[in-house]
């Protein structure tokens, strides 16, 4: 791969900065999953966690210049869609009984 000489420093810097940012974001989302007062809050936070994972996969692709994770990215969005729609239907069906669980 024909990189110029300044590239590895930028590459490492971007990797470290985005890793720190995404780790903090994932920690926040996991905290919301743990303490979230309702089931829908947890679903929403797990959706955000999926988005953070997708961002990490895409950053890996951009930094290392490959497209191996692209199918995984699409599958991840499909999983998030199916999961949140299913849980939303489940909550809507049993409303009034399990509000805060």
């Amino acid at each position: 791969m024909a990189c110029n000489e300044g590239s590895p420093i930028v590459k490492d810097l971007v990797l470290i900065v985005t890793a720190v940012i995404l780790s903090l974001a994932a920690a926040g989302a996991i905290y919301r999953i743990a303490v979230g007062p309702s089931l829908l809050d947890r679903v929403l936070a797990s959706d955000v966690l999926l988005a953070i994972l997708g961002a990490a996969l895409a950053i890996d692709m951009a930094v290392n210049r490959h497209l191996n994770n692209l199918v995984l990215l699409v599958a991840l969005s499909l999983i998030g869609f199916i999961g949140s729609v299913t849980v939303a239907r489940f909550v809507a069906d049993r409303r009034g009984q399990v509000n805060d669980s």
Binding site: V14, A26, D47, V48, L67, A88, A92
Partner: protein, 143 residues
């Protein structure tokens, strides 16, 4: 993958770095919003940032780094797929959150769903079937 000698490569790398870091900051903003916002609706507002704009920025960074033209339609398809699925799931979660009263009504500036829900409850009550009792019970429990 053939960088020209005019410094274009460094410019593209810098733009890519900015796109990646801003895209990661979208996730951090969503996490901060999840932690600090008071109810489900405002948390949903924060949660859409990495799902749409963050993914767009990061996919644009991939397209810049690959330096091949055929990559862009593939990335566009991935983004449009996300753009189609996210509003539907957010709609479902929002409706379920409204029905289960996971919101602070005093924070809403407009509540257009209230009339629809009340009318649906009234129709079911006038039909006099079994689900009507459940609805009345729920309505009576709610302050």
């Amino acid at each position: 993958m053939t960088p020209d000698a005019t410094g274009m490569d460094a410019v593209i790398d810098a733009v890519t770095a900015v796109l990646l870091i801003v895209g990661a900051l979208m996730s951090l903003g969503a996490a901060i919003g999840l932690l600090r916002f008071p109810d489900l609706m405002s948390r949903m507002h924060a949660a859409t940032k990495p799902q749409v704009l963050g993914l767009f920025l990061v996919l644009a960074a991939i397209g810049l780094q690959m330096r091949e033209l055929w990559v862009w339609p593939v990335l566009l398809v991935a983004w449009i797929f996300q753009l189609l699925t996210v509003p539907v799931s957010a709609h479902m979660v929002g409706r379920a959150g409204y029905r289960t009263k996971h919101l602070h009504p005093e924070l809403l500036s407009a509540d257009e769903l209230e009339a629809v829900v009340l009318r649906a409850a009234g129709e079911q009550a006038s039909a006099g079937e079994e689900p009507a009792e459940e609805k009345d019970e729920e309505a009576g429990k709610q302050p």
